[in-house]
């Protein structure tokens, strides 16, 4: 079958900006995007650049935008893509600096990973490791160890899109991986560093990382686990942590969320933040968008209170 693939080309030595080019070639039912690219490189244009190695979704090097989505070229079928989108467009990973064609600079990805101290730290490495320790790790890994460092999640991350210093999904999933390792001796410190600016509380929960990860690492869920562990470890003062605890408290009392009361409770005592919210609060009030913070709890709240009470037991 003859098909056309549209590829975004960029060679910094000759191009001012990237441009799209069409390639027509013969493909079969089993042709993957990677095979198609290799064929183009062999038969049509030898200057086409991309990374690839294992061809079997293990090395994680051929991640690119395929019809606008972060995918491994070696496990994406050409015909399935055409079927799903009606065309096949290939571009380098979004939100990463492009070096040439599909080759991007992965430096931001590695820097973030390094920033979470992604390995077990021990004062004395000669001490024997308890076998129970290894079992606990297995029980709590939640697939966080399956990462092949392809960069899909970071490239798709909506927080990263808006805030380039965000630690990002892969690094935070790795932090969780180490966090459940009882051999590690700096767990409390690591958890503490994750509370700061650009850490776990900056994730907007867009679920992109969960969806694009080719290895089901589900980074957002690992971030949620880190958040839960943080609150359990006593890191409860950040606005992010308060969002969870105060939201839950409001619902526990009234059965529903009161959007006027929550921001007040979350920012209570943080005058700068409270001050910031005032103009919007006034606008919302004028437009009839502020639920009465002193209203009686709505119908159904007794049942919810009972459920909360039951959970506490």
């Amino acid at each position: 079958m003859r098909i056309t693939i549209t590829i975004r080309r960029f060679n910094p030595e000759i191009d001012v900006k990237p441009h799209w080019e069409n390639y027509t070639l013969e493909v079969g039912r089993e042709t993957t995007v990677l095979l198609a690219l290799l064929k183009i490189k062999d038969e049509i244009d030898g200057s086409l650049s991309f990374r690839a190695s294992c061809r079997a979704s293990i090395c994680g090097s051929d991640l690119m935008m395929i019809n606008g989505m972060q995918k491994l070229a070696c496990r994406t079928s050409v015909l399935e893509e055409l079927d799903r989108h009606g065309h096949l467009k290939i571009a380098p990973m979004a939100n990463m600096p492009v070096i040439k064609d599909m080759v991007v600079d992965m430096d931001p990805f590695w820097k973030k990973l390094k920033a979470v101290t992604p390995y077990v730290v021990r004062e004395n490495d000669d001490l024997p490791v308890q076998s129970e320790a290894l079992t606990t790790i297995q029980d709590n890994l939640e697939n966080a160890d399956a990462c092949i460092m392809c960069g899909a999640c970071l490239s798709a991350c909506n927080t990263f899109e808006a805030s380039s210093d965000f630690l990002g999904p892969a690094a935070l999933a790795k932090a969780y991986r180490i966090q459940v390792d009882p051999r590690d001796e700096i767990r409390k410190n690591r958890l503490e560093t994750l509370q700061t600016e650009n850490g776990i509380w900056d994730c907007v929960r867009c679920v992109y990382c969960v969806q694009v990860c080719p290895k089901d690492v589900a980074p957002m869920e690992q971030i949620v686990r880190l958040r839960r562990r943080s609150i359990a470890a006593g890191f409860t003062e950040s606005i992010g942590a308060k969002h969870i605890t105060e939201f839950t408290k409001v619902v526990g009392k009234e059965g529903r969320l009161n959007e006027t009361r929550l921001p007040i409770l979350m920012t209570w005592g943080n005058f700068k933040k409270m001050f910031q919210m005032i103009p919007l609060g006034i606008k919302m009030f004028i437009h009839g968008k502020s639920p009465n913070p002193f209203a009686d709890p709505p119908a159904g709240h007794e049942a919810v209170r009972a459920i909360f009470k039951g959970r506490k037991k």
């Binding site: 509380w201 679920v207 969806q211 969002h243 959007e259 921001p263 009972a306």
Partner: protein, 297 residues
């Protein structure tokens, strides 16, 4: 066709116009609804961060109430749909989980959920149960020459395991509805991305930056208005637009204004069905819908 209508906290709180326009439109279309008046919050994914079993139990209560009524649930919020619908799927599939959650639910409220309820967003009901062709018969004021940017948001699409209606990579249901009312669906980058709402209180800078990207891209594609199935997306895109405008003008030049009305799905349909902007609660928007209204009248 009758549904147990779950208005959600936002519909009964900060976006009263969502509830108002929903009631108007379902009545006009002849879709019967039984409003769940004693409903509780779905937890919005936040309560499950504190305690997953608590979130399961709260949603099991909602499902059990609808089950006792013998009705499927209709949601009008993308986030409620993702959370309630996703938990429903888990409770249906995993019997051990269901009986564990039912034990607590029964003890505290006397209710128990058998796993037979369907949870559908109003948007999905229109496309599938009701049908786009039938909808066209109710359009008395087609919005010809109007370009609408569909904004899906996150939880009505992702994770796929919780939703499973549209193809999350290339959803089409809003586009179908926009075409059905005679308008033109704008193609732009960002229709399936995040509006920034979840960090609105923690990190306003991130939320504002995301709103700038979404509204900016809809604007560059010449959209007259945006439409969304999620009131939380509506709030972010509506509330942050003025702040986002400042960033936009720094990027694109001082003459660039942000005046993009952000409509709830039933409001957009209501306009095409001939209802007045007042009756659809348009006065509650921070960014006035006036330019759009002007164009269609």
């Amino acid at each position: 066709m009758k549904y147990a209508y779950y208005p959600g906290c936002a519909g009964k709180g900060a976006t009263p116009e969502l509830h108002q326009s929903t009631m108007k439109v379902v009545e006009g279309l002849g879709i019967a609804v039984h409003e769940l008046e004693a409903f509780n919050c779905c937890g919005a994914g936040v309560i499950s961060e504190a305690d997953p079993d608590l979130a399961y139990t709260l949603n099991a209560r909602t499902l059990a109430i609808a089950e006792a009524l013998g009705l499927n649930i209709m949601t009008v919020c993308g986030t409620c749909q993702g959370v309630l619908g996703g938990i429903n799927k888990k409770l249906q599939k995993d019997e051990a989980l269901r009986s564990r959650i039912n034990a607590g639910l029964k003890e505290t409220t006397g209710l128990s959920y058998g796993g037979t309820v369907g949870v559908k967003h109003f948007q999905w009901i229109l496309v599938k149960d009701f049908g786009v062709d039938k909808l066209k018969r109710f359009i008395t004021n087609p919005l010809t020459d109007v370009s609408i940017a569909p904004f899906y948001g996150c939880y009505i699409l992702r994770p796929e395991s919780a939703t499973g209606f549209d193809d999350w990579e290339n959803p089409q249901s809003l586009e179908k509805l926009i075409k059905a009312i005679g308008a033109y669906p704008v193609e732009y980058d960002g229709r399936t991305k995040c509006c920034g709402f979840p960090v609105f209180l923690e990190k306003q800078e991130i939320a504002t930056e995301l709103v700038e990207k979404r509204v900016g891209s809809a604007k560059n594609a010449a959209g007259d208005a945006m439409v969304t199935p999620c009131p939380l997306c509506h709030m972010a895109l509506d509330f942050c637009q003025k702040d986002a405008e400042k960033i936009h003008r720094e990027k694109e030049g001082p003459s660039r204004l942000f005046d993009m009305p952000v409509l709830h799905l039933p409001q957009l349909l209501g306009l095409a069905m001939g209802y007045s902007p007042e009756s659809l609660g348009m006065k509650h928007h921070l960014v006035p819908a006036a330019p759009l209204i002007h164009k269609i009248t």
